[in-house]
Amino acid sequence: MTIEVKNLVKKFGSFKAIDGVDLKVDNGELLALLGPSGSGKTTLLRIIAGLDWPDSGEVSFNGEDALAQGARERHVGFVFQHYALFRHMTVFENVAFGLRVQPRAIRKDEATIRARVKELLDLVQLDWLADRYPSQLSGGQRQRIALARALAIEPRILLLDEPFGALDAKVRKELRRWLRSLHHEINVTSIFVTHDQEEALEVANRVVVMDKGRIEQIGSPDDVYESPATAFVHGFIGESIELPVHIAGGVIRLGDRPLRLAADGLAPGASKLFVRRHDMLVGPPGSGAFEGAVQHVRNFGPVQRAEVALSGGETIEIDAPRDRELRVGDSVGLQPRRYRIFAG
């Protein structure tokens, strides 16, 4: 099933939750909608599911207009952030719900329903919880039951809203890997919403980065990390150092200080310079584009994170390998291995 969204707009009062979004999702894809809270990603997901309606724009599934159908007819599996399991039903009945409410003409008989639910509970590896109530499950178990419930109706599309948002870090990592292999197994077109970049980069085939109701970049996890298209994407994905610079006459300046960095092809004016924390190489004073003094050092496993006060007045955080110990008070030269400059 392919999904196509064209020029979508959704307002809540005067607030534009979605501000002209175009998106194409290929058959069998596992797509991540990534963005900070308030970026419109959940609203976009709810519109695709039919739980919200756009003010203008188109949504189509396999080329056929989806907005002509209600949520009930769209045959979309939706997994809610807080699971929304039916609290008065057992796990078994929760998963069976979608099968039991089918119109009488196509409803399966009880034995078929039971077999199907059993199969789904096996798929999410929780068949031993069939008789429990949602309140008796852990967060991770509830999430997997919610997924099994959504899969019961053999959805054409699977939509997941912050699927791991309410779980602790360890369970979250396990479930991520599990979701990816599950998607591999069932291969249904899936979109999941997350504000966690690591989650998006690790699980998805393709990542859509959103901000303020607009799409900033669409690309593979490598694309959005290695070649961010906008300042927002660079700042949002990966840990970045952001410095306000000024370009004039082929020279990049930080404050009054000219930086020894190539300015070829860059438009003059105020710009932002982005460097990944680990791309800032530390050398002796005078060896790089920046000069600074180490103010604070902490060790994080393989790297040491140092706070460096640049002579231009800014303070930045860098990640350096631990082969050369940094000490508070050291004067250092810093040279970015790679950097990007965005106008504005």
């Binding site: 739980l51 009930r72 939706f78 699971y83 929304a84 399991l85 609290r87 309140s135 509830r142």
Partner: protein, 303 residues
């Protein structure tokens, strides 16, 4: 100082000390002296005994003052039986109507946003803020011989006032808020996610209501019905205005109690009153059971 001593003694003693300390700290939080506390509690108990327990005891004492046979005989009077029947009928009608109205109103208020919502909520509370006698008079003004619809009703030979329909209408009006009031906060707190999940799984509106919404609010519904029923059976003011006090026909139990009392038939009056008192006791017990279930629901909630 305490710390130094605790360091030198064994662990269990220090734990015991810590516990004693905590208890002392708790006591210290209550700044009132012991005597004040005793006086306040005693006042509350005396007040409750004089104003609540004593009247209840008197009702039963009077009802049984000539023995159990006189009591049963009083209840077996045709007038008494007719009043009991009428009360049950009126309660059934008004509880049924208010259950339907209350569910619809609470559903609309809790699950949808619309213009005039605040006004609707205020309107639901209106019967609580108006004196029941006024509520009854409204129906007299509407349906009485000189009322707006009086002529039309007479022409078509429809009897509303001084008959069962009038009594049922007045009772329904007075007891309207109970079910809606019990459900609105409950439904607002539960939100709409489970309903959204049901619809995305292919359930129709009715399936969603009966399989998801209703089971989630069933204890709240029972709670509202219970209170609504208690008030419907006990309502005096509004019913008194519209009933016409036709003996054996339009007297409900509360009305009959008053009539019998005014005729110095104390045993009969208190016998009927004792039934209403028992209804109150049963309501209280059922209410505390239901409240426990409502709170169980709290623990079952996700997160």
């Amino acid at each position: 100082m305490t710390m130094q001593i605790a360091d030198s003694v064994s662990l269990s003693t220090s734990e015991a000390k810590a516990r004693a300390h905590a208890a002392a700290a708790r006591d210290n939080l209550r700044t009132e002296p012991r005597a004040v506390r005793i006086v306040v509690i005693a006042l509350a108990m005396i007040f409750l005994t004089v104003f609540v327990v004593l009247p209840l005891v008197v009702v039963f004492a009077q009802a049984f003052s000539r023995g159990i046979l006189a009591y049963l005989a009083a209840l077996a009077e045709p007038e008494a039986l007719s009043a009991i029947k009428l009360t049950l009928l009126v309660a059934a009608i008004s509880v049924g109507l208010n259950l339907a109205f209350g569910l619809v109103a609470a559903w609309a208020i809790a699950k949808f946003e619309f213009r005039g919502k605040t006004f609707l909520i205020t309107l639901i509370d209106l019967p609580f803020s108006v004196s029941p006698v006024i509520s009854g008079l409204v129906f007299v003004l509407l349906f009485g011989a000189q009322g707006y619809f009086g002529g039309w009703l007479r022409d078509h030979d429809i009897q509303i006032l001084f008959a069962v329909p009038g009594i049922a209408l007045a009772t329904t009006f007075v007891t309207f808020p109970f079910v809606a009031r019990a459900l609105i906060p409950l439904m607002q707190e539960q939100g709409t996610q489970e309903e959204e999940a049901a619809i995305s799984l292919g359930a129709s509106g009715l399936q969603t209501f009966f399989r998801v919404t209703l089971p989630n609010i069933k204890w709240g519904v029972l709670y509202g019905v219970l209170l609504c029923n208690a008030r419907a059976m006990g309502e005096f003011g509004a019913v008194s205005v519209v009933s016409g006090h036709i003996r054996g026909e339009t007297n409900t139990m509360p009305l009959l109690v008053e009539i019998l009392y005014n005729e110095y038939q104390f045993v009969a009056a208190f016998a009927i009153a004792s039934l209403l008192a028992m209804l109150a006791l049963i309501t209280l017990i059922a209410k505390s059971v239901l409240e426990r279930h409502l709170h169980e629901g709290d623990e079952l909630r996700d997160d």
